[in-house]
Amino acid sequence: MSQPESHPLSKEALAEFRADVANWLEANCPLSQRQPIVREEQIWGGRRRVFPSSDAQQWFEACRDRGFTAPEWPVEYGGAGLDPEEAKVLKQEMTRLGCRPPLYCQGLWMLGPALLVYGNEAQKREHLTAICRGEIRWAQGYSEPSAGSDLANLKTKAEDCGDHFLVNGTKIWTTKADEADWIFCLVRTSDVTPKQAGISFLLIDMATEGVSTSPIPLISGESEFCQTFFDNVKVPKTNLVGELNGGWAVAKELLKHERKMMSAFEGMLEKPAMELLELADYAVGSDAQGRLNDAELRSDMSRHLMREAALGQLGERIYWQGKAKQVDPRLPLLMKHLGTSEAQAKDELILRALGDEGLSMEDPNVSPGLRKMVKQWAFNKSLTIAGGTSEVQLNIIAKRALGMPSGEGKS
């Protein structure tokens, strides 16, 4: 990043910054934008963006003009140029007031940070600014029908045609690609082995002739994901990020930022219609001593609550190990598998508790809040598949945490 060398700010300067930011947020964040965010009101930006309300637009524009949509990016690319300490203060103050994130965008969380490292000056100027200003919405083109867990097996081909690449192939699980303007893709530019060494990172304007996209209906009745097709799509060579055949490194950089940025938004989402205990009491009832009428459900709920608490304690353990400089590098490897499995266990408890009311996603006689939980149950089956399946996680744990020998397949 082209930022000045970090010089730790004095306590006084940081306190001054905090007061300044707090005042600014008070003055610029409308009260309606300090409520927990619901999915329908998230602002995703893009050529076809619509604001859910004039308050939302006002809040977005205020942040955009101050660079707060991307607080840590350099000012010349549309960010606020904050150092990490200042960015932390901003986040704390926004959390304290309950301010909604002003902009949601895969460009913000994933592409941008990778462009800051691997992009050239022209790419940074063109794309980072458009991302911060919410003008372009990005989709991610990684997986393919034959390249899921084995991502390096991807086949979408970019053929060198002098001043441009000719792209042919298809990308799957492209989140909201039907609403995106541009897509960043991993494409095959060479057939060398290992397969990772023949992959390049390409930016493609989805308005280009030959790009088409169609939604994939899911078992939850929703269709957040799409399949995107590339049929003789001409992509200017200037859209190559990093080295030719050096796309794997860019992709890895990008994944590093994905989790970090996403975690910033966790806990700001709307609460479910009912908490688990309340829901179980509502659905199965309790006896005179306050014990749930379904003894097995009650026991399984205890087990789940204990494990959920233990997951939090594992997270705290990792945090304090970092603080105490006694890091056990094995522990973070466990979080994805444990966390997603437990989330699914909770969904199963909800479905069991709901009984008849859990049997339809559309029944108008069931409250929308409960129907949402049933949809969530179905949607969350993707948690143990997306972002590295549980099986891949177990492979990694066996090899890297337990040091078990390689053999059989590679992953």
């Binding site: 306050g290 006694q326 466990l334 996680q393 078990m404 390689s406 053999g407």
Partner: protein
């Protein structure tokens, strides 16, 4: 666990001590002893010399006041070697019951002899087949104490027995009797983990031979002690579970079949990875509970029940899988793996099974 410098040093010292003085072969040698003997006296006196009995005792009572994380460290290392000692029965259960339920005079009368190793004590809590501290039939009727207690750890070697019993007033109390008192009969047995515990009958133990603890709040003192011991036992179980998982992973890395190391098979890798996830999840709950004891956190009952239920399930899983993954060797008496399996099942019943703790957790939360 996150240890400070002193705790890390303690861990190193303790690990070395148990590896040298109490390898599993020492536990095996108990098989030939009389049923009353649950541990080796020489080993115990060396543990006393290292100061183990005073580890959590406040400085005002001449303890080390080193905290529960320190004790948890010792328990874990003991678990790794399946050490049989009065650490749970005398140090954790008896000493803390005295500290939590006794008057200052009672503490200063009995604690020094326990801390110096001159005597050991045990706590008689369970009655019947399962752990259920809410159901106590032992009672003081017409001035004498009567009833039966089960799974009283190390009773055959204990000078004192702290009996949880109903007082004449109807309130729950702690009756201290000497094991040699009139009317006390002790029937020891060796459980399959090679430790010793006993069923105890009290038949008209005269009032003159009973000391009722008269501290500030005896009822909550009893519960507090049970929670402390539950957490300490959970820590010991985590040490055993970690040891037996490490032994299993190492075995799979050596043993060859079909011309390859067994550890290269993905089916086996996934089972080990799953066990490791469960191990660290339970370890996190136990570690949080130990920390909470050191900070006198208010929700200790929830944390203790969580820790024990997770430790039970985790150690049960890992010890069963360890036998299976050791193949034929796993079911031989020669390998130590079977001892971990047996110890795990005994630990499950001590201070509450997973069903007990899941029920208690729900009760405490209110569902």
């Amino acid at each position: 666990m996150i240890l400070n410098e002193e705790q890390a040093l303690l861990r190193e010292t303790v690990a070395q001590f148990f590896n040298e003085k109490a390898p599993i072969s020492e536990l095996r040698s108990l098989a030939g002893a009389s049923d009353e003997q649950g541990y080796d006296l020489q080993l115990w006196s060396e543990m006393v010399e290292l100061g183990f009995p005073g580890i959590t005792v406040p400085e005002v009572y001449d303890g080390l006041e080193f905290g529960w994380m320190g004790l948890g460290t010792i328990a874990q290392e003991a678990g790794r070697c399946l050490v049989a000692s009065p650490l749970l029965s005398s140090v954790v259960l008896s000493q803390n019951l005295l500290l939590n339920c006794g008057s200052d005079a009672q503490i200063t009368t009995y604690l020094p002899s326990l801390m110096s190793g001159e005597a050991t004590a045990t706590v008689a809590l369970d009655e019947g087949r399962f752990f259920n501290p809410d159901a106590v039939a032992m009672s003081d009727a017409s001035g004498t104490l009567n009833g039966q207690k089960d799974r009283v750890l190390d009773a055959g070697q204990s000078a004192y027995i702290f009996c949880i019993a109903e007082q004449a007033s109807g309130e729950r109390g702690v009756a201290l009797v000497e094991s040699s008192a009139e009317g006390v009969s002790i029937e020891s047995r060796r459980t399959m983990d090679l430790h010793s515990s006993a069923s105890i009958r009290l038949d008209g133990v005269p009032a003159a031979d009973i000391v009722w603890l008269t501290g500030y709040d005896v009822a909550s003192g009893i519960q507090k002690t049970i929670d402390q011991a539950t957490i300490a036992l959970s820590a010991e179980m985590m040490g055993s579970a970690r040891e037996v998982l490490e032994r299993t992973v190492a075995y799979l890395g050596e043993r060859e079949q079909f011309d390859v190391k067994l550890g290269t098979f993905q089916a086996l890798q996934h089972r080990c990875a799953h066990m490791y996830c469960e191990l660290e999840l339970a370890e996190s709950a136990v570690s949080a509970a130990l920390t909470a004891l050191d900070h006198a956190a208010p929700n200790i009952g929830l944390l203790a029940s969580s820790a024990k239920a997770l430790a039970n399930d985790c150690f049960t899983l890992i010890s069963s899988e360890a036998v299976q993954l050791h193949g034929g060797m796993g079911v031989t008496e020669e390998m130590d793996i079977g001892l971990f399996l047996k110890r795990s099942r005994v630990c499950n019943q001590l201070l509450g099974s997973s069903s007990y703790h899941r029920d208690r957790y729900a009760r405490l939360i209110g569902f």
